[in-house]
Amino acid sequence: MAEHVVLHLDSITKRFGSFAANDNISIELRRGEVVALLGENGAGKTTLMNILFGHYVPDEGEVFIEGRRISHGKPKEAIAAGVGMVHQHFSLAKNLTVIENVMTGTEPLFGLKSETAKAKRKLKELEDKFGLVVDPDARVGDLSVGEQQRVEILKALYNDARILILDEPTGVLTQQEAEGLFDTLRTMAQDGLSIIFISHKLNEVMNGSDRVVVLRAGKVTAERDTSETSKEELAELMVGRRVERPVREEASFGDVVLRVENVGLSAGLVSRLSDINLEIRAGETLGIVGVSGNGQAALCDVVAGVLHPDQGTISINGAEVQNLNPRDLSNMKVGRTPEDRNTQGAVGELTLWENTVLERIKDPRFSSRGFVKKSEGRAYCKDLIDRFDVRGGTPNSRISRLSGGNMQKLILGRCLAEHPVFLLAAQPTRGLDEGAIAAIHEDILIARKAGAAVLLVSEDLDEVVSLSDRIMAIHGGKLSPAVETEHVDSRKLGLMMAGEWGGLS
């Protein structure tokens, strides 16, 4: 590999008020290299990349590309020097086609003829070279998230990018899509491109990069060649202390708490769930794995009382609950953490305390005769904040101010504080960093130990394996038979998720 330095960030410092988001950061990127920028949420990764790309102006420091200094705050100059950026939230026009999106910004506004044919040819070459297959005439809004990301990458390559920056590229992808992405990045690096990807996921950093730069609290804490480091070391470097995800202990189970029998749900003519049968005993955790979009959301909504099934029964400690609403369930000590904390779990414009009491507002503790007991609500929330280590807000601040991890701690906390007999944990750690994941896992294990039946629905296989006693897979709205966690390996889980559970016991 050539030792040619294509990008040099020299002593970058960026302050927001008194807070240094980037503190004297220097990074070099060589030709043909894939560098992972690893750090927890809020470590300054995105700020740094925004400086490189010209969105922010640093307070100190310089950016050099191919040895040439780039003036600050000029994205155009960065693009001209060959930097391409793939944002976490795509910057594509959904109502335009792929080719139109790719060409946007490359053509003069008042040009007489559009060079679509030529552009298509160039796009085709890029597609073939890197295996990034997309139909150029498809509308971007019709594409899957993975395909949209390919379009973003193609757009950067079309603009002759030699340095590609990807901000949390796998955050929105399924596992298979993520693997495909890293294959592509590898091919591009072999072709001489240089790549930086931002991540807080240790697995993909280990698998996808040549070198790792670890950021913590705005500083570079370490640089390692990927081949000479380990997940454990990186986790420690990233968090600053040793984090270990807590592990499930053996336990004995009680009676069946949750029993779902023959539940079916259809939306119009489409069947979303069919023949769902499961049982969870007190103190037991059942994990549900599956490729996203196979009915997890519907299953969670049915169990959470948001949707009512068309057929079948759901019972909790023997009482039928399939037609109850969320508040009734909450009264029956059912704890529910929703799949998407921002859209389902919290009303962003309300305060922390309002969000913590909303599902129990009719409870005499929090209201009487239609009037809200504000001070009780605040005190309850303060207690949750202390017990579940929620940082970054007071009971009176808006919940949208919280980071994902802290919001999730509060949402889980408001379930656990009521000592649930049954806990639904849907995607409990999606998008969270290592520290927060460990805390959430700890909380779930405490609930299990206290005798709650836990239904864990997650796309993170490591999470499911480490927390669950039994595992089922969901595929096409149907559940596989349950297997004991001790008897699964990744091959078996893969088959289960693909819907091939013929040989399972």
Partner: protein, 349 residues
């Protein structure tokens, strides 16, 4: 430079921002006054004196503010729950029309203290129906209520014209399209002798306090806010979503209907085509000026009334079109939107 959200809304700015907005809008409108050839400061002085300079002026301004407070509240409660009720004008007219239909004869021989509440409740019911129907269409079929409530205004106005020229026409009105008058027992008592200022002002302020209490201290207030801002999360938390929105629609439409009943029983005693000087639409501006705060609505309504009443004096004194009031009120809405933004965010370099 970038803009970021403040951690807490600044308490000072909540009060100062609207005042700054008013000052800014007056400054901009000052340019227009200057272009029209009048001395700017003199003109504003005349507006102020015209609105507050005498006992009579004050009563006129407050009379004008009364329906604006109530329609402002109607808009504020609806917008807070993200129901875009643009139909207060129509709801007001329906409230006025139905209150008059019930009050043109005292069938039951009720005394004032019973008949007046009856007429106000009648107005409220009429307004409720006029908003619950569009909301029902939205909840059932996804029809945008901005369109339905706005268009219903025209339907209602034409309906009112029809009634005024037909079944409800006053035979003694020399052919003018106006309704039969409400009986004397149904009229609101005057607050000040020999003025138009009536008990409606007290009712309006009481309603503002009621809405404030509902918003701030009740389960309904919390649930309606949650349902408005994030229906998905509200449903997940077990807030009865449709029920809550229907309650909000009843409150909002009811308030607009009350505005109509008050205007009829307080000022004119009958319905005519010019009963409302666009009070329904102006209520939207009032609500926005007040950042949807019910107590702020009182002040925003008085400010708006001041501009309209005062600019008539200015118009007489300097020969400038009184439309300048519309300009100032509209500008203050725009500057207020900027001010609200700034009080929630800060600009950083």
């Amino acid at each position: 430079m970038r803009i970021e959200q403040r951690e807490h809304q600044s308490k000072v700015l909540i009060v100062v921002a609207p005042l700054m907005a008013v000052v800014a809008s007056l400054s901009i409108a000052g340019v227009l006054i200057a272009l029209a050839g009048a001395p700017v400061f003199e003109a504003y002085k005349v507006i102020f004196v015209g609105a507050f300079g005498s006992k009579f002026a004050i009563t006129e301004t407050l009379t004008r503010a009364t329906p604006l407070i109530v329609t402002g509240l109607a808009a504020a409660v609806a917008f807070r729950a993200r129901i875009w009720n643009i139909g207060a004008e129509g709801q007001l007219y329906m409230g006025a029309l139905l209150a008059t239909a019930v009050g043109y004869q005292n069938f039951l021989g009720l005394p004032s203290f019973a008949l007046i509440p009856l007429l106000i409740v009648t107005g409220a019911v009429a307004g409720m129906v006029m908003l619950v129907i569009p909301l029902g269409l939205r909840l059932r079929f996804g029809v945008d209520e901005v369109v339905t409530t706005l268009l219903l205004n025209f339907v209602v106005l034409l309906f009112v014209s029809m009634m005024l020229d037909g079944p409800m026409k006053d035979p003694l009105a020399f052919g003018w399209p106006q309704s039969v008058p409400v009986v004397d027992e149904g009229l609101l008592p005057k607050l000040v002798e020999r003025s138009r200022l009536h008990l409606g002002l007290v009712i309006a302020i009481a309603l503002a306090i009621m809405v404030y209490v509902l918003n701030q201290f009740t389960v309904f207030g919390l649930e309606s806010k949650a349902a408005g801002f994030n229906p998905v999360a509200a449903r997940f938390a077990g807030v009865p979503f449709e029920k809550t929105l229907i309650k909000v629609a009843c409150l909002s439409g009811g308030l607009a209907g009350i505005a109509g009943a008050i205007e009829v029983t307080g000022v004119k005693g009958l319905v005519s085509n010019d009963l409302s000087a666009s009070f329904g639409y102006a209520g939207i501006v009032v609500a926005m000026l007040a950042s949807l705060n019910p107590i702020g609505v009182i002040f925003a309504a008085i400010f708006t009334a001041m501009m309209f009443v005062g600019s008539e004096s200015m118009s007489r004194t300097f020969g400038i079109p009184s439309f300048i009031a519309d300009v100032v009120v509209s500008l203050s809405l725009l500057t207020m939107l900027v001010a609200v933004f700034l009080s929630n965010y800060r600009i950083r370099r």
